[in-house]
Amino acid sequence: MPTRASGAGPTSSGDAIRAIPVRHWGRWVSAAAIAAALGWLGWSAVRSGFVDGAQVRHYQFSRLILEGLRATVVLAVAAQTAGIVLGVVFAVLRLSKNVVASWLSGAYIWFFRGTPVLVQLFFWYNGVPSVWKRITIGIPFTHLTLYSARTVDFMTPFMAAFLGLALNEGAYMAEIVRAGILSVDEGQVEAAQALGMTPLLTMRRIVLPQAMRVIVPPTGNEFISMLKTTSLASAITYGELLRRSSDIYSTNLDVVPLLVVASLWYLALTTVASAGQYALERRYGRGLRR
């Protein structure tokens, strides 16, 4: 059949469709019902006299609470950062052809994922100093000592909380990083190998940057979770947000307002973290179609 030119170019969209949209009456009804239920809940809480807005406003920016807030952020950032580093190291070890490395990493993940964080915190704070009395860092087979201290002095509440949370987080991060590494196309590794890149260089320059796209979203979740998990450190007397709040309400008995104060700060922190996660995801989606 001979081809034929139709001669028709693109047309203007002057005759756009103007239709009357479907009305969703059910949504209005359900929204009203939910608003009524929440309103009743709030009103009854205020009427009980235990939720005092003035108290909340008074404590929200008080010195002790702000100190706790700072301590929470410091602990969460430190533990998460160390957890990410541990996660990358143990994920690479887990995927290594070296049997010893792979086994070691498997054992680490098994142990730290398999015991409660709170138990781990107690272990670091109370258990370790009674088992190992002194910590000494020196050069083996010489008398040179670089650092030596009684374990009780070294294992401050912060140190115990940091070690416990970081090691626990490292086990979860190792699995996240491992999933990220496995998500990278095998052809990428082959291309890097064909260019004479060593396994370590390939991991650092080619695989991990691409794995980031898979690693970042769950890591954001982990950090949000970490911000809240730091509250467990209150159990080993670390002066973070919850500990400071309970310090105050144990003297003046304003339990509910102070729990509201702490919750509002946790919400603020997690909101900021979510925004950061979104920005990071955009950054690592660069140059990729999907």
């Binding site: 082959e190 190998q193 064909a194 260019l195 004479g196 260089l201 320059r205 691409q210 660069r286 140059g287």
Partner: protein, 260 residues
Amino acid sequence: MTDGPVTATAMVRAERVHKRFGRVEALRGVELTVAPGEVTVVIGPSGSGKSTFLRCINHLEQITAGRLWVDGELVGYRQDGDRIYELREREVARRRAAIGMVFQRFNLFPHMTALGNVTEAPVRVKRIPSSRAETDARRLLERVGLADKIDCYPAELSGGQQQRVAIARALALEPKLMLFDEPTSALDPELVGEVLAVMRGLAADGMTMIVVTHEMGFAREVGHHLVFMDDGVVVEEGPPRQMFAEPQEPRTRAFLSKIL
């Protein structure tokens, strides 16, 4: 086994090369010699072992029997008298850097620009100062006709452009041998020509090339040596025009009649 006189001059020499994947034997005694400056085109049905053989040359696969030399050096091993030692990763990597490879699916690094893809190996592997590597990379990208795409990410390029970046990336290490693994098979038909043109240019410059392809026109016009593989062995080899005109083996004849 010592290196014979042929090995000294051959760029690639394969003697009874076998490769086994579990129960499947992909290569069953490949014999092949590639002279420097020669374009060898390997054809054959899918599953004939031609890609596997190419990957063995670059040690992406380890051969299970036989001997394979590139430029007089055993691939993946070091021979000392009668003993054969496995090479360390670092040494394998060093030898791979002297061989360029182009893949069917391009395998460009998606998180780097065209320029980044080309400079990566010279800077990180050969430790060439990045300013010089960049000058060289610009020249290479110009050579493959992509001077205006230097700052594009792979996702912003067409398949043909991506494959040309991949060729420039392989050339950046100044390889003595280039391996092409079905370089045009993943391309839309209208993009095949631009990639073949670049390869033609390379051949004209005297690059030693081994090309696994289904492009019979390229094999006929550019190839110095045509190799037909089937079922893990080299069935027939010779000058392309002669082989296309009068194939000697029945299997070669059957294959060519299906595709020509």
